[in-house]
């Protein structure tokens, strides 16, 4: 546990800093490694950039990032999606600064080059000076390859890597389950919280598959719940598990009875949802629909971690973006049902506000812990982060994957295995 690593001259390659069960703390704080990660991980795989419901109509757009690179997700007049580099082909200014909205085109503010929603260069001022110099058809906004699964849009700079569905592999089953929380309506983005923390992106990556921290760091959140709900969140001694799904993905099932939101619809309505049930009944919803919506309002009982930047986290998307070796931006994207009853979507947003975002009852405590991990990573010249919890008690899941207890660090090891593979592959 105490081998000395020369940090000033990083002789040990990043991939060698990842062992099964521990990772070297320099992975959180070495700026050279961070630059390598952008190339070898974020520019080299499928990265989540948004949900289709965020660009619902022809002309809708949202801005996003692949690693550090700004991109635009747009929907053209034929309703096709495009992912475009947010960079004018002339002198390189961004052509879209809005967070999201509707537009007919993207026009560079500097010299007025205008691009269509599919990225094609349509018009530019004083075109005669370009006669015989450029061909407009050769200067569209650069397009990224993109594919969607169940409304989740991923993009990549790599034309030659495996199809998204192959990359997601064993995670697809869990995305299908996650999308049941629309309560019978298509899942829709309702809004998002944004915050940052002074720490490395991998600290957040680990956190979403870390049940071990929950009752400790989130004690004040649990104390704010009624007894029945607090019991639900007391899951460390339950039957939950963490399963390694391959390609860096993993699922952490905390509340097994909330894996399938379309099952067990006969359960009595919990006290904290009695007002929602009453509102739905008042609207004339059938008892069957009331039960389905109330169960969906809970959110699922699991966190699905998709390497490298998104988690389907119980009821919302948690999206991370690496800004620098010691700064990470996070989006907590609230979800509801498209066309679902107003009372249902309201309840979903109120639950999201309760725990998530920079003013939630949970996130600030996570942020405090992550900030301390980053600060602690600078202590000493040597040190390892332990991710070996549960390694001695692994078993095979029903789907044939490696699984451990709910509070095991099986998911982190899966993510770091993928990280190591990607960092090492590029060094050959």
């Amino acid at each position: 546990m105490s081998e000395l690593i020369k940090l000033h001259n990083v002789s040990l390659k990043a991939a060698e800093m990842v062992e099964e069960g521990r990772v070297h703390k320099a992975l959180y704080s070495d700026p050279d490694i961070f630059e390598q990660e952008l190339d070898r991980v974020f520019n080299n795989t499928w990265v989540f950039i948004g949900h289709e419901s965020e660009v619902p109509e022809a002309g809708s757009y949202k801005t996003a990032w692949v690693g550090r690179q700004p991109v635009i997700l747009s929907r053209d007049r034929k309703m096709n999606l495009h992912v475009l580099q947010n960079r004018c082909r002339h002198r390189g200014a961004t052509v879209c600064e809005g967070r999201k909205g509707k537009t007919k085109s993207f026009t560079c503010p500097y010299h007025g080059w205008g691009y269509a929603l599919d990225g094609e260069l349509r018009a530019l001022p004083k075109p005669e000076e370009y006669d015989g110099v450029i061909d407009k058809s050769e200067l569209p906004l650069m397009r990224l390859r993109h594919e969607s699964y169940r409304g989740m849009v991923f993009a990549t700079f790599r034309e030659d890597i495996q199809p998204l569905e192959d990359f997601l592999g064993g995670a697809k089953k869990w995305i299908d389950l996650f999308m049941k929380q629309g309560g019978g309506y298509p899942v829709k983005v309702l809004g998002e919280h944004r915050f940052n923390f002074p720490g490395n992106w991998k600290i957040q990556l680990e956190n979403t598959t870390d049940a071990y921290h929950f009752p400790i760091i989130h004690k004040s959140f649990v104390s704010s719940l009624d007894d029945a709900t607090a019991d639900i969140f007391d899951f460390l001694n339950g039957d939950g598990f963490v399963e390694d799904l391959g390609n860096g993905h993993s699922v952490m099932v905390m509340i097994p009875e909330l894996v399938d939101l379309e099952a067990d619809l006969e359960q009595p309505i919990p006290a904290r949802f009695s007002e929602l049930a009453a509102a739905l009944r008042e609207e004339g919803r059938s008892e069957e629909e009331v039960k389905r919506l109330v169960r969906a309002a809970h959110g699922t009982g699991f966190n699905l971690n998709l390497f490298p930047n998104v988690s389907c986290s119980m009821a919302f998307f948690r999206v991370l973006r690496p800004v620098s070796v010691s700064e990470t931006e996070i989006q907590h994207v609230a979800l509801g049902g498209e066309g679902a009853p107003v009372a249902f979507n309201r309840k979903r947003m109120r639950l999201h506000e309760h725990f998530q975002g920079p003013m939630g009852f949970g996130t600030p405590d996570d942020g405090e812990a992550w900030e301390r991990v980053q600060k602690g990573s600078l202590a000493g010249t040597d040190g390892w982060i332990l991710v070996n919890r549960g390694m001695g008690r692994l078993r095979q899941s029903a789907d044939g994957n490696v699984a451990g207890a709910v509070c095991s660090e099986t998911g982190m090891r899966g993510a770091y295995r993928q990280y190591k593979k990607m960092m090492a592959a590029a060094e050959e």
Partner: protein, 160 residues
């Protein structure tokens, strides 16, 4: 422009009193300033007005306010225990409505927080809906429109 200086002075006194309670973490007294139906709102979009049907950073009714205060005072929250002090400046107070049942005031606030030795500043536009009661007011609604609401904020373990 005619200004009701007596009312403005009374409103300013109330808003400064609230600001002082919050900076000095006298949260139990702060809870007493509210009407039972009052809402404490920090929107994610400063142009939004349909708070119930949109996602907010905070939308606290009486229960959530009580729980938020309980969390900050519980000793169970590491971020609340690590929180430094805040100093807020409130100025530019203007009365938008001066009814007998409801007074609406808008003001500018700059909140400074010292957190782990770093100074963080939150400029905001704040709107109060106040119900005159006896000599003072009860807060019916307080909307804090953070200038940086749409950006990436630091986490918050105090009350705006």
């Amino acid at each position: 422009m005619k200004t009701n200086t007596e009312l403005l002075s009374k409103v300013a006194g109330f808003i400064w009193y609230e600001a002082d309670l919050l900076d000095h973490k006298e949260y139990q007294h702060w809870l007493q300033l509210w009407s039972a139906d009052g809402l404490y709102i920090v929107p994610t979009d400063i142009n939004e007005t349909d708070y119930l049907n949109t996602l907010n950073l905070a939308l606290d009714d009486a229960d959530m306010r009580r729980m938020r205060v309980a969390r900050l005072e519980s000793g169970e929250s590491v971020s609340a225990d690590a929180a430094g002090n805040t100093v807020r400046m409130v100025s530019r107070i203007r009365l938008l409505e001066a009814g007998e049942e409801l007074v609406i005031a808008r003001c500018a606030m700059t909140l400074n927080e010292l957190r782990h030795g770093r100074l963080i500043t939150y400029p905001a536009d704040v709107e109060y809906q106040l119900r005159p009661v006896g000599d003072g007011f009860l807060i019916e609604r307080k909307v804090i429109r953070l200038l940086h609401a749409e950006g990436f904020l630091r986490t918050v373990s105090f009350i705006f």
